[in-house]
Point group: C3
Chain length 270, copies 3
């Protein structure tokens, strides 16, 4: 497959409504992988921006009442136009307001991919079902021991939402309603940089626009693109500052050969 | 001329109402060139901030209804105080709301310089005249073939607004109502970093404050300061992350000798 | 003492309501020193976030009417929960609105530490007393000549507020109502990077959470942690861009031995 080549050739224009903490990295990561980012979160402006874009990424990390309106209206517009829509439910489960907003987003917008860490995805699975909570057996770390429980949760959430579910962590799980991939790419040092998850959501969106024929694999490519770039940068980083910069350097130099050689993935039918 | 020395000696205090995507780079670029940045976009606060500043830069990239009020009121205050005011019409032409806001800004604030890419400047030229659109012959890339058409558009916009018009791209055009410069500085790799345009607006503002005797040349110096710094950084950058950091390094080390030696500019009477 | 080790072991969860200019650096600096940052400034969300956090840092640099509400309500909640609260009165004294907001914050929230430059602390001392202004003898630069005047101002502000007062500049002063430290760590080149002060506030908060037995020393450790990291980075930085990245690298590699060896501090009873 030519996941990265396709992104660089199609240069997807991606509209982000994202947090102001990592937005610069998100924009630079999108550019580095070959996409073109545009940011606006004013409800009078954002939905119309979808008219010239290929995708929308919603990350309510630093949400407020005004930007939430822009998220919902832009999401509806993106759905109407058939655009790729990715949700990064940043901080899901942390506060009642945040859960209410995420429930509203889920009720109003159809997502192609939902990407979060295990806590966020669990919170979101709870939010999206009224009858019972998520299986308590799903702990807060994905391991090779509990991964089948995680696959089950991801499969159910995928069935309910129609989205690919990407759960990032020491081991990443990317699942549809039929199959799941686990990946071992990335390194623990990346957790000491803010924004690697937010960047991943953008790279997934770019990959989905450019590789529409297999959405699950496109999401896997997006996740490991960031992980492999982080691993490569770690080999020469002197600390978290230079790891951060090296990650962007490596994303900008990434190609499909590096992706294929670096990929540590395993597939499961679920 | 001593464009950079003058900035470093006068340390202009520049108030930015700018997008939250590239604001950190804008602040660091302003510091690197010898200016002092201050950011505030609350209408109860921002106009008063002009009282202690030398300049205002308005960039509506991530505008919202509240910050637009701050842009207009701060712009009026800056005009009243005779301060340098620069407009970076980020995203002009992309949505109706954005065009409305830019028309409001143009109607209420007088700018010393308007800096954008060719699409933004064309959108703005259209917004600012009610009778007919901009000459369709002006394509979306400035080349040595079509540059006289671009000069004509810039000259008309300069006559109408009183501003220097700076059009950035593979070839940059900086024009008043009487003369135009083209510059070949910068490199295509800079397009893969977000914020080089936003930083340029700030460096132009610093240059205008410190070099008031020839506004056109001050704007040219601001544009090529960023371009030359990017070229120098490219010689050792390993990707877009280190190009980004190298650009700030080079701006912080820039002096008038490097500016003069590196300048690739040509002047035309128009 | 094991200031840094304690931070890395306790990984304090710090809620920041801070400006959008330097927020990414603040988050990465907090991670680099071993803390975990979370940002939210919506009044419906932010106070509840305190329920899962250990500390709150308030920096009204890019305040607006909505975020000011979140600052006050989150501050009250943090006080109620006995959490560490740090104020970075960014831009105090610059505008009437900013002074009004800071007076409101002081009236409603009790702070463990107030950290600012000398102008900000003077403005804040003025705001917090209605009868007379701060001693005009306290100039805008702390020197070895005027430092006893600065100690007196800091002591009075500490008595009135109950907070440790940290005044950053060429010489830093960190004072309680009984003792003051001066530190010579840091370097003048750090003033050409935006956000070193904002990062310091976060590192102080982390240090206070992890080292509660001696608040004054915990604040000193926070201030010099950033200063020493900057000095170390300066030895190989090529300009302000790489100094910025090196500072984060050094923070991520800092330990108590480097802190002790690098510390340039002197203690005074006041």
């Amino acid at each position: 497959m030519e996941f990265i080549k396709n992104i660089r050739e199609k240069t997807p224009l991606i509209h982000f409504i994202t947090n102001y903490v990592t937005v610069n990295d998100v924009a630079n990561a999108a550019l580095a992988i070959g996409a073109s980012p545009i940011m606006t979160d004013e409800v009078n402006d954002a939905p119309d921006m979808q008219n010239i874009c290929n995708a929308l990424v919603i990350n309510p990390g630093t949400l407020n009442e005004n930007t939430v309106k822009a998220m919902i209206e832009s999401g509806k517009r993106a759905n109407k136009l058939g655009h790729v829509v990715v949700l990064d439910p940043c901080g899901a489960g942390a506060t009642p307001y945040r859960n209410k907003v995420i429930a509203e987003l889920m009720a109003n917008v159809k997502f192609d991919c939902i990407k979060g860490n295990i806590s966020e995805i669990k919170a979101l699975a709870n939010v999206s079902q009224s009858t019972k909570g998520v299986d308590a057996d799903v702990s807060d770390n994905v391991t090779r021991e509990n991964m089948f429980d995680v696959f089950k949760m991801a499969k159910e959430l995928s069935q309910k939402t129609g989205a690919i579910i990407a759960i990032t962590g020491p081991i990443d799980v990317i699942a549809s309603d039929k199959a799941a991939y686990i990946t071992d790419n990335g390194c623990k040092e990346m957790r000491a940089i803010t924004g690697t998850g937010c960047m991943t959501a953008g790279v997934i969106a770019a990959s989905l626009v450019a590789n529409p024929s297999d959405k699950l694999k496109a999401c896997v490519a997006g996740v490991i693109a960031v992980g492999i770039s982080g691993e490569r940068a770690l080999s020469y980083a002197k600390g978290t500052g230079s790891l951060h910069i090296g990650l962007i350097d490596e994303l900008s130099n990434l190609d499909d050969i590096k992706l294929e050689v670096g990929a540590k993935i395993e597939r499961f039918d679920i």
